[in-house]
């Protein structure tokens, strides 16, 4: 029986897949296989691909039953939470990576799990369309590597609230020490994954400078079970730092949220900074100690000290982990990339995101470091797996070769090709990692999970009713309209 999808739906799904695969081909050409002496990084990435394939379709459907992808994108674009271009891209890429591994192993065919593939891609495309709706692109690679999220209304607010700094003053010094401390902490707490950071922008300021918005995500006690206690003193789920720089052109802010600047990012060019928090219970950004420069400097100095201490404690804890614990921690951080969606929907359950599905766990004997490095290098850098090779006539976008990263859904499922709809329900899962015992840090204090989910389900940001006015077209044609600042 033909697949229950329209030709149009499959065309759209395959086009989205290709856009994302090209995004990665471009983005990964300047990166190599990420090796670490502490973490078996590539091995856990391979494991996370498999876990994503087996778990995400059901988890995303649970989210989608409570909140639409468009509403998620709308919420996300108002603040600095772990829903962004990077996260959305990974939803496509990691899920499809798991599919590609299984295709290459001969364990599934391209015509399998068609409903799942279409659902995941559709979810991400709709989320990104809303998230980027002021810019009308879905990915920075579509618009010359600019990752602009905010409308003029939000941008003007962040610019106007930023506190001026100059090299040598106290706030400049405190801010310059804070960001590296936060970055180090983020990489470590998230086991070498880069999901703790996201940059968007740049936004041009009226005086010719550029503003970059830098999110630091999942820094307090929350989903990461190993950060219970260690992160207890960090009173934020997420922080967003705004940086306005002179004489600096952020000429690339890419699909990963990484940036490149000319000249290179240099704290000496900082002219103003800001700090905010936001989470699934805030109405966008909430200023953090922004009353004056001294107040913010005090707070940053205190936070920096706490981050250094937490980094040291985290490292000492992780250095004592077994390889399986390290493998699972990294695997789960990456395959947990969509968990903020569940928080927004109020359906977050710890075991959904922090247990490795038994379907993925069975592959552990294969996931040694060398296989992980080889597989990831072949699959997303070289595109050299046999399943990735197209016909001799084919020319890939960037490298003129015949391979493509991912295998599309074959249109023959609309005729008489055998196909399957779904990977099926999630299996049971497990982990060797310590269980989550602590609370969740939110903007409303530390909450238990049941309470956090309840509040999330009941929460409607006060500005929600004005959301369709928050865009530049309306602002341009309605100068001074009070709905712009509501």
């Amino acid at each position: 029986m033909p697949a229950d999808h329209t030709y149009q739906a499959l065309l759209r799904a395959n086009q989205l897949q290709r856009r994302f695969s090209e995004s990665w081909v471009w983005g990964l050409r300047t990166r190599t296989v990420q090796e670490s002496k502490l973490y078996p990084v590539s091995a856990y990435i391979a494991g996370s691909y498999l876990n994503a394939f087996y778990r995400w379709p059901e988890l995303l459907r649970r989210v989608g039953e409570r909140i639409s992808p468009e509403d998620i994108g709308e919420r996300a674009r108002q603040g600095g939470i772990a829903v962004n271009t990077l996260m959305a891209g990974m939803l496509v890429q990691f899920y499809t990576g798991g599919r590609q591994i299984l295709i290459d192993m001969g364990l599934i065919r391209p015509s399998d799990a068609v409903d799942d593939v279409v659902y995941v891609y559709d979810f991400v495309e709709r989320l990104l369309a809303a998230y980027h709706r002021n810019n009308h692109h879905n990915l920075p690679i579509d618009c010359n590597m600019k990752n602009q999220i905010h409308s003029a209304r939000e941008t003007e607010r962040l610019e106007s609230e930023a506190l001026g700094v100059a090299p040598g003053d106290r706030l400049h010094t405190a801010f310059s020490s804070f960001l590296p401390a936060a970055s180090t902490y983020g990489f470590l707490a998230q086991c070498e994954c880069r999901l703790g950071f996201f940059n968007h922008g740049p936004y041009r300021t009226p005086d010719g400078n550029q503003m970059l918005v830098r999110d630091l995500l999942s820094i307090g006690e929350g989903d990461l079970p190993w950060m219970d206690g260690i992160a207890a003193g960090i009173p934020y789920a997420n922080l967003t730092a705004t940086v306005i720089m002179k004489d600096t052109d952020f000429y690339i802010v890419d699909d990963f949220g990484s940036f490149e600047a000319a000249p290179a990012y240099d704290n000496d060019n900082l002219v103003a900074v800001g700090l905010y928090t936001s989470d699934f219970l805030t109405d966008g950004y909430v200023p953090v100690h922004m009353d004056n420069a001294d107040d913010l400097a005090d707070h940053l100095e205190e936070l920096t000290e706490k981050l250094h201490t937490a980094t040291s404690e985290t490292w000492q804890m992780m250095a004592g982990w077994t390889r399986t614990q390290m493998l699972e921690a990294g695997l789960l951080v990456y395959s947990g990339v969509g968990r903020e969606l569940a928080h927004l929907a109020g359906v977050y359950e710890q075991e959904d995101w922090w247990e490795v599905d038994d379907q993925a766990r069975r592959f552990y004997p294969l996931l040694n470091d060398e296989y992980g490095n080889g597989l990831i290098w072949e699959m997303v850098d070289q595109l050299s797996l046999t399943s990735q090779q197209w016909s001799p006539h084919h020319i890939e976008r960037f490298r003129d070769g015949r391979p493509e990263m991912w295998t599309p859904i074959p249109y023959s499922v609309l005729a008489d090709e055998e196909w399957t709809a779904t990977v099926g329900p999630m299996s049971t899962g497990g982990t060797d990692l310590p269980p989550k015992t602590g609370l969740w840090q939110t903007s409303e204090g530390k909450l238990g999970l049941e309470e956090a989910n309840r509040r999330a389900r009941e929460f409607e940001p006060p500005s929600w009713k004005h959301r369709f006015y928050d865009e530049d077209v309306f602002a341009k044609h309605h100068p001074g309209d009070p709905r712009l600042t509501a």
Partner: protein, 237 residues
């Protein structure tokens, strides 16, 4: 969902890495054999989890490769420490004994891609940081002064708690866009990424061309070679 078998490919290619080839070929073969033996149609088999390959099957595939004498390369130290019988020993610093000498008589012991330009080149003591024990020691006792950390780890986690205390870094992996490149830039710690090292002795005094312009991550082969920053050995500390 179960699995169905028989990988078919009109335009195949052999994998570039022997381990991927060995594992995937073994999996394809086993999966096909199991499906053929089941006597089930694909539609029947596809949702039958009893036909799936299990952990024991993958353990046998791993054991089969090891039985040929093959030994895996480890990246993380914990990988080797937990199963040395399955792995090659972790590599030490290379020394071909055939280093070039520059016009000033200095031994050129490596080169790498500069993350950002400093006002002038730097000198310091090269210290190889590649184990958890070494980081723990320095976390407890402090990083020795003048340390230019030679790291074979482009990640940001091994040295996370002490990274800001290095005078500079030489990393034998990654690119200027790797995690360690990002972190050293944030810390304003001079750093070479993607370094090739030959004959650099642990504890020797070195000079590094950190004042060269930041490497262009998008450079073609010729430009990439021309933009490398050199590492010179000045003698033992």
């Amino acid at each position: 969902m179960g699995e169905h078998y028989g990988y078919r490919d009109a335009w195949p290619r052999d994998p570039q890495t022997p381990i991927v080839a060995a594992f995937h070929e073994a999996i394809r073969k086993l999966a096909e054999e199991r499906f053929e033996a089941s006597g089930k149609s694909w539609e029947e088999a596809v949702h039958d989890r009893t036909l799936q390959l299990r952990r024991e099957d993958f353990e046998k595939i791993e054991a089969g490769l090891l039985a040929t004498g093959y030994r895996f390369e480890a990246s993380a130290t914990v990988t080797y420490e937990e199963a040395p019988e399955k792995h090659k020993p972790l590599a030490d610093l290379e020394d071909s004994g055939e280093q070039e000498i520059d016009e000033a008589g200095r031994r050129i012991v490596g080169s790498g891609d500069n993350v950002f330009a400093t006002p002038q080149d730097l000198e310091g003591i090269a210290r190889h940081v590649h184990t958890v024990d070494k980081v723990m020691e320095w976390l407890t006792e402090g990083v020795p002064e003048e340390t230019i950390a030679v790291i074979d780890d482009c990640g940001g986690t091994l040295t996370a708690p002490i990274l800001g205390e290095f005078k500079a870094v030489v990393c034998m992996g990654g690119t200027v866009r790797s995690h360690l490149g990002i972190l050293t830039r944030e810390y304003n710690v001079p750093c070479l990424m993607n370094a090739t090292i030959d004959g650099l002795r642990d504890g020797s005094r070195i000079a590094v061309e950190y004042s060269r312009p930041a490497a262009d991550a998008y450079a073609d082969e010729e430009k990439a070679a021309a933009q490398r920053s050199r590492i010179y050995e000045l003698g033992t500390a």
